[in-house]
Amino acid sequence: MRRVAVVVFPGSNCDADTLHAARAAGCEAYFLWHRERDVRQADVVVLPGGFSYGDYLRSGAIARFSPVMAAVAEHARAGGQVLGICNGFQILCEAGLLPGALMRNAGLRFLSRPVWVRVEETDTPFTCLYEHGEVLELPIAHGDGRYAADPRTAAELEARGQVVWRYVRDNPNGSTNDIAGICNAGRNVVGIMPHPERRIAPVLGGQDGARLFLSMEAGHATQHAVGVRAVGDRHPGV
């Protein structure tokens, strides 16, 4: 049973859904208030969706300086797994744990509707139970979802297989290269704009998001994670 810390910032609003989704997948999930300075031996840290600090200044710009983020960065640096969903993705970019930034939707409107994304990479801790090329229906709910990166960064993401999900059929927000989610070079830090936690059972309208959490519980070891985990004493017993 994997330990999953769901960070709660002031203004997070998908924290309970995310905790539920992780528990439904069999994880030992718990909330972690943003003022804590330790991730409490988490295997996975999830930054959930919402509007941390009211999206003031820029989405995620203030949350990334919350006390817990130093511990999250340390966890990531040591190879620990981190997932950012929607506002969590924005925070990871602001924190520099993922490249690029999320800007205002090209159409300016807040969008809350289902979209389709294609799974481009299955070699991540959060997609290992999906099929490569599979198309998922997941809901989006964002105003600042347009992934932007300079051409060189975008080319590197493509070349290194760091584009994990891509919008298909239509690109709702004008993101670079139809990007819906990416991972870092170590593949242990992943961000996604759509909300997999909102599609984990037929009663919710679909279960295309469930395997993300089942992948998390399955404990896929990324290429970098295994060797480094034992180095810090943040993960004793792993």
């Binding site: 602001e94 930034a101 800007m103 932007a148 004008g174």
Partner: protein, 84 residues
Amino acid sequence: MRAFRVEVRVMPRATLLDPQGRAVEHALHALGFGEVTAVRIGKHLILDVTAPSKDDAAARARAMCDRLLANPVTEDYSVLVEAA
């Protein structure tokens, strides 16, 4: 220590799409202001600070921009310091 007023201008980088600026440009055209060829929208922040000198105030303001006030991936900034 002296008091200064720091004005920070944060603008979306010129190479990136600025949908707000584009929408306002279209609205201006619709109102008959056809001479407008481009609109970009950014942020203007006014900070009241104390510092030993104007240069110190400017240096600190630039540090604030680098760390928080501007996103280096998508935005450029400029800093103007005046005695308060």
